[in-house]
Amino acid sequence: MDGMNKTNFLDVGALEDIAPLGARTIATALGDIAIFRTDGDEVFALRDQCPHKQGPLSQGIVHGTSVTCPLHNWVISLQSGKAQGLDVGCTPHFAVKVEAGRVLLSLP
C-alpha cells in the first residue's frame, strides 16, 4: 500500500546464536534490546528493561511466550511487552523475524 512506512529489517545475527528458551542482547542507540527465542523457534524483541525496576529481561527465564524478570519475578509477555497477572506496566516491543536462519530486527 502506498504511504505505508517501508520497514527496514537489520540482520543482527544467526538464530542458532540464541539458545532455545534463551535470549541475547543488541546494543542500540535506544539502549539494549533483548531478543528472545522460544522452544518453538519463534523470536521476540523487547527493550531489555522490566517496566518495574528496569531489570534486564534478557537474563530472565523464558517460558511459553513470556519471560520472568530476574530481579523481582514480574512476568512479561514477549508478544506485547505487557506485565502479566496483577502487575501493571509495559515495555516497548519491536518487530523481529527469522529468515533463512538469520534474525532480522526492525527499529523505529
Binding site: L10, V12, G13, D17, I18, A19, P20, L21, G22, R24, T25, I26, A27, T28, A29, D32, I35, D39, K53, Q54, G55, P56, Q59, G60, I61, V62, H63, G64, S66, T68, P70, L71, N73, V75, V103, L107
Partner: protein, 817 residues
C-alpha cells in the same frame, strides 16, 4: 495364674515370600489374634517385593525400598520369623515341621508358600562361576559383584524376566546380549509385530539380541575356570563375564512331595487352596490348580484372600482364575498384553500402527467381545482394555473408536475413572483394586497420594498409576481433595514437590520435558518457578547422567555471579575455610584496578566480594582470578556457600581443636554441590563458638572430647538456632556425618526449602534416625554424596571462560550503535 482358657491355634507358614506374607496379612486383617504364627524363610532377609528385583538390579531402588514387611512388622504382630533356615521335613501325622538347623515347631494349620525355582538348563559349563539365575536378592548381589562398565553379560532367555535382567545390567554399563530360543522375544506375551518393536527398542539401548538362538555351551578356562564366553549351536561365540539364565520357573514341590502331599507339576490344591491334607494349605507359584500354575502376582493376591477365608474359617470363597495382564518393567518401554492376543480363525483384529512414534496396538475380538490386547509404545489405555476384556461384555457400541482408547468414549478422565467397576485393578505392581483404594480413603480419612501409598501400597512401586490414584482421591473426597492434598509446585501442575521427586526416581524420568509429559503439566515449558526446581531434582537424582539445563537456571546460576539491582554482577572467589594469601589478595587488587570495580567488601562468610562487575567483563575477571589459583565461590547459587571457621588451636589460646584445617577439609570436600537452597557450614574450635556455628545449616563445635555436630540453623529473616545432631570423636566422623547430612537434605528437601524449615517439617528425630542411628544408611549417603561430587566439582568459571559457545551469553549479539 494367668492361664489361657483355650490356647491359640498354631499356624506355620513355610516360605517368607510375597504369597505367604500376603496371606498372613489377609489373616491378620480378618482375625487378628486367632493364631500364633511362625514363619520359616530360607532367605535371610525379611519379606521383599520380588517384582522389584529388576529396579534393584538397575540401581533404581535400594533393598530397603523393596522390603514389604520389615522386621518391626513381624515383631508388632507377634509373628515368629525364622529366617535363613529352610524346612527339611514335615511330619504330617504328628503335625511337626523341622528346619535344617534342627528347629521344630508344632502346627494346627500349615501353609506352604514355597514358591518356585528358576529352571537351570543342563548345558556344558553350567557349574562355572559367573553363571547364575535371577530370582532372589542373593542372585542380584551376585550379579552386582561381577557387573560393571566394559564387561559383558549374556542373558539366556528373552522372556519377561530375562529382559528385565538384561535391562538392569545394561543400565549398570555392561555390554549385554540376549540369547532367545524362539524367533521372537516374549512370545508368550507379544505377537510378532510388537516383539519386533520391542527388539528394535532394546537394540537402540545398546543390547544385542539373538533370536532363534540355541546355546551350545558356557565356556571358560579349563574344566572349572570362570565363564568367559557363550557358544551358540551355529558356532558363534559371545563374550561373557556373566551369564544369567532366565528361561523359566518350576514350582518348588520338593518338600510337599517328600511329605507325601499330592503333587503333579505343582502342589495340587482345590479351589479353597487346600492340599490333599485338610490341615495343609498351599498358595502361590508352588501350586497347581485345574492343571494351571501361576507366576504373576494378580492371581496370587486372589489366592491369598481365598486361603485366608478358609484358614480362619470365616468364609467359603472359591479361587477362580481371572485373566492376567503383563507389563514389562523396562523404563521407557511401554508394553502391555493380556488374553488371547494371538487370535485365531474365530477372531477379528483391530490394529493401529504409528510407525513414526513406534506405536502398535492390537485388539482381538471374538464376536462382540474383546478377548485379547497387545499394546506397544503406548499403554496408557491398557487398564481400560483389560477391564473390557475381563468384563466379557459386548463392546459393539465402542467398536469404531475403541482402538483410540476411552478418551473418545468419555472425554473426561475423571468420569471414565468413575465408570470403572469396583473390581478394576488400579495398581498392577501391587494388585490393588479400585474398591480397596476408595474404601481405604473413606475409612482411614486418607488425604494424599502418599497416604494411599502407605495404607494400600497402590502406586508405591513404579508410580505409573499415580494419576489414577489421584483421580480416586478427587472422586472420593470431592472439593476437599485439592484443599487437603499436597500444595502444587506452581500453577503449571497439580503435583507437589514430593510427588514430582518421587515420579522422577520411580518413573526413571531423566529430562525436563519427560517430567512435564509424565506429570501432565498444563504449560508447554513450565515457568520460572518449576523449571529450576525440576532441573535441580534431575541433577540430584541422576548424577553424571543428567545434563544441566542452563535455561532452567535462575540468572545467578546461569551467569555464575550475583545480579545486582543495576544489572551488574558481584564476583566472589572461594577462600577455603576463610583463609587467603598475599598472592590471592594481590590478584584481587589487580582485578579491581584493571576492571574499575567500584566496590570491594568483606562478606559475612569470610571472603571478598567485588561488586559492580559488568556482564561483558565477567569472563575476563574470572580468567585473572583463575590464573591466581582461585575458583568460583558459588556465592550466587543454591549450593554449598561457605565454611566459616575461627582460628582454632593453631593460634588461639582457648582453641581445643584445629577448626581451620577442619573447615578447609570440609569445604574442599563439599564445594560445588548443588542443593535445594544455599547451604552454609561453620567450624568453631571451642565452645566460645566464634565461627557462629549454631546459626548454620551444619555447624561443628570442638570440645575437649571431639566435636559436637549441630544442624538446621539459620541467621536469615527467621533466626533459628541449630539442634544438636550428635557428638563424634574423630575428624573422619565429622566428614562422614556432614556429607551424609548434606546428601539427605539434597535428596529429600523441597526446592527452596532451607535446612531449618526442612528439619522443622520432618523432625530432628527423623534426621537422627537416618544419620546417627543407622550407620549403614549414613555410609551409603556419604558414598552417594562423594559419587555426585565427582561430577559437581568442576569450576564453572574456568569452564565458562574456556568455552566459546557458552561464552556467547556474556556478550551482546550485535552492536547497532
Amino acid at each position: 495364674m494367668n492361664m489361657m482358657v483355650s490356647p491359640r491355634k498354631k499356624l506355620i507358614v513355610i516360605g517368607n515370600g510375597m504369597a505367604g506374607m500376603r496371606t498372613v496379612e489377609e489373616i491378620l486383617h480378618r482375625a487378628p489374634g486367632m493364631f500364633d504364627i511362625t514363619v520359616f524363610g530360607a532367605e535371610p532377609q525379611p519379606n521383599y517385593d520380588r517384582i522389584m528385583l529388576s529396579p534393584l538390579l538397575a540401581g533404581d531402588k535400594t533393598f530397603d525400598q523393596i522390603v514389604l514387611n520389615s522386621l518391626d512388622w513381624y515383631a508388632e504382630h507377634k509373628i515368629e520369623l525364622i529366617a535363613g533356615e529352610s524346612v527339611t521335613t514335615i511330619d504330617r501325622a504328628a503335625r511337626v515341621v523341622t528346619g535344617e538347623h534342627g528347629t521344630t515347631r508344632h502346627y494346627d494349620i500349615l501353609l506352604l508358600a514355597t514358591g518356585s525355582n528358576p529352571i537351570v538348563l543342563p548345558l556344558p559349563g553350567v557349574e562355572r562361576s559367573g553363571v547364575m539365575t535371577f530370582r532372589s536378592v542373593a542372585d542380584v548381589e551376585k550379579m552386582l559383584e561381577t557387573a560393571g562398565p566394559n564387561k559383558s553379560a549374556v542373558v539366556i532367555g528373552g522372556g519377561l524376566l530375562g529382559l528385565e535382567a538384561a535391562h538392569g545390567l545394561n543400565l549398570r554399563g555392561m555390554e549385554v546380549s540376549v540369547v532367545h530360543l524362539m524367533p521372537t522375544l516374549m512370545e508368550r506375551q507379544l505377537d510378532a509385530s510388537a516383539a519386533h518393536l520391542l527388539e528394535r527398542s532394546l537394540t537402540q539401548r545398546g543390547m544385542t539380541i539373538y533370536t532363534s538362538a540355541n546355546t551350545e555351551s558356557l565356556d571358560g578356562e579349563g574344566e572349572s575356570g570362570p565363564v568367559h564366553s557363550v557358544t551358540l549351536k551355529d558356532g558363534s561365540r559371545i563374550k561373557a563375564d556373566l551369564v544369567v539364565m532366565a528361561v523359566g520357573i518350576r514350582p518348588n514341590t520338593n518338600l510337599a512331595k517328600a511329605s507325601g502331599l499330592a503333587c503333579d507339576r505343582g502342589i495340587l490344591v482345590d479351589a479353597a487352596m487346600c492340599t490333599s491334607d485338610p490341615a495343609v494349605f498351599a498358595i502361590g507359584e508352588c501350586i497347581e490348580h485345574n492343571k494351571a500354575c501361576y507366576g504373576l502376582v494378580a492371581p496370587i493376591w486372589d489366592m491369598a484372600k481365598v486361603a485366608a477365608d478358609h484358614i480362619t474359617g470365616l468364609a467359603q470363597t472359591q479361587f477362580t482364575p481371572i485373566a492376567t495382564g503383563t507389563r514389562l518393567k523396562v523404563s521407557g518401554v511401554e508394553m502391555f498384553s493380556a488374553g488371547a492376543f494371538m487370535g485365531d480363525e474365530t477372531t477379528d483384529d483391530i490394529i493401529l500402527r504409528d510407525a513414526a512414534r513406534g506405536i502398535y496396538k492390537r485388539l482381538v475380538l471374538r464376536g462382540e467381545k474383546l478377548v485379547g490386547v497387545v499394546c506397544f509404545g503406548d499403554a496408557r489405555d491398557a487398564g481400560w482394555y483389560f477391564q473390557l476384556l475381563k468384563d466379557e461384555e459386548s463392546i459393539a457400541h465402542l467398536r469404531e473408536t475403541i482402538i483410540h482408547g476411552p478418551v473418545t468414549a468419555s472425554a473426561d478422565p475423571l468420569e471414565a475413572l468413575a465408570c470403572l467397576p469396583d473390581t478394576a485393578e488400579i495398581c498392577g505392581c501391587n494388585g490393588v483394586k479400585k474398591s480397596s483404594i476408595c474404601t481405604a480413603i473413606a475409612e482411614h480419612g486418607l488425604k494424599s497420594v502418599d497416604d494411599v501409598r502407605t495404607r494400600t501400597k497402590a502406586s508405591a512401586s513404579c508410580g505409573s498409576c499415580t494419576n489414577l490414584v489421584e483421580g480416586l482421591l478427587k472422586l472420593t473426597l470431592g472439593a476437599e481433595f485439592s484443599a487437603a492434598g499436597a500444595k502444587p509446585m506452581c500453577k503449571c501442575t497439580t503435583h507437589g514437590h514430593d510427588e514430582v521427586r518421587h515420579r522422577i526416581k520411580g518413573g526413571m524420568l531423566k529430562t525436563i520435558p519427560a517430567v512435564m509429559q509424565a506429570l501432565e503439566f498444563h504449560t508447554p515449558n513450565g515457568c520460572a518457578s518449576c523449571r529450576p526446581a525440576i532441573n535441580f531434582y534431575l541433577l540430584a537424582a541422576w548424577p553424571g547422567e543428567y545434563v544441566d539445563d542452563a535455561q532452567s537456571r535462575f540468572v545467578n546460576e546461569r551467569m555464575h555471579a550475583n545480579i545486582q539491582k543495576d544489572g551488574t554482577y558481584s564476583v566472589i572467589p572461594r577462600m577455603w575455610g576463610g583463609t587467603t594469601t598475599a598472592g590471592e589478595l594481590r590478584a584481587i587488587a589487580d582485578v579491581v584496578d584493571k576492571f574499575n570495580i567500584p566496590t570491594v567488601k568483606i562478606t559475612g562468610g569470610q571472603r571478598v566480594d567485588m561488586l559492580g562487575v559488568r556482564k561483558e567483563d565477567l569472563r575476563a575477571v574470572w580468567q585473572d582470578l583463575n590464573a591466581a589459583g582461585m575458583v568460583s565461590g558459588h556465592a550466587y547459587g543454591k549450593a554449598l556457600r561457605t565454611v566459616k571457621t575461627c582460628v582454632g588451636s593453631e593460634w588461639c589460646r582457648f582453641g581445643t581443636q584445629d577448626s581451620t584445617s577442619m573447615g578447609v577439609a570440609l569445604e574442599k570436600a563439599t564445594w560445588g554441590s548443588w542443593h535445594p537452597h544455599k547451604v552454609k557450614l561453620a567450624v568453631s574450635g571451642c565452645p566460645r563458638n566464634c565461627a557462629e556455628a549454631t546459626i548454620k545449616d551444619f555447624g561443628i563445635i570442638a570440645t575437649e572430647a571431639g566435636w559436637d555436630l549441630h544442624v538446621g540453623g539459620n541467621g536469615g529473616i527467621k533466626i533459628r538456632v541449630t539442634d544438636l545432631l550428635c557428638k563424634v570423636t574423630t575428624d573422619e566422623e565429622v566428614m562422614e556425618y556432614a556429607c551424609a547430612f548434606l546428601q539427605l537434605y539434597r535428596m529429600e528437601a523441597r526446592y527452596l526449602e532451607r535446612t531449618a524449615p526442612w528439619i522443622e517439617r520432618v523432625g530432628l528425630k527423623y534426621v537422627q534416625e537416618k544419620i546417627v542411628d543407622n550407620a549403614e544408611l549414613r555410609r551409603s549417603l556419604f558414598e552417594d554424596f562423594l559419587y555426585a561430587q565427582k561430577f559437581a566439582q568442576i569450576d564453572p568459571w574456568a569452564e565458562e571462560s574456556a568455552c566459546n559457545t557458552r561464552g556467547k551469553k556474556y556478550d551482546a549479539m550485535a552492536e547497532l550503535v
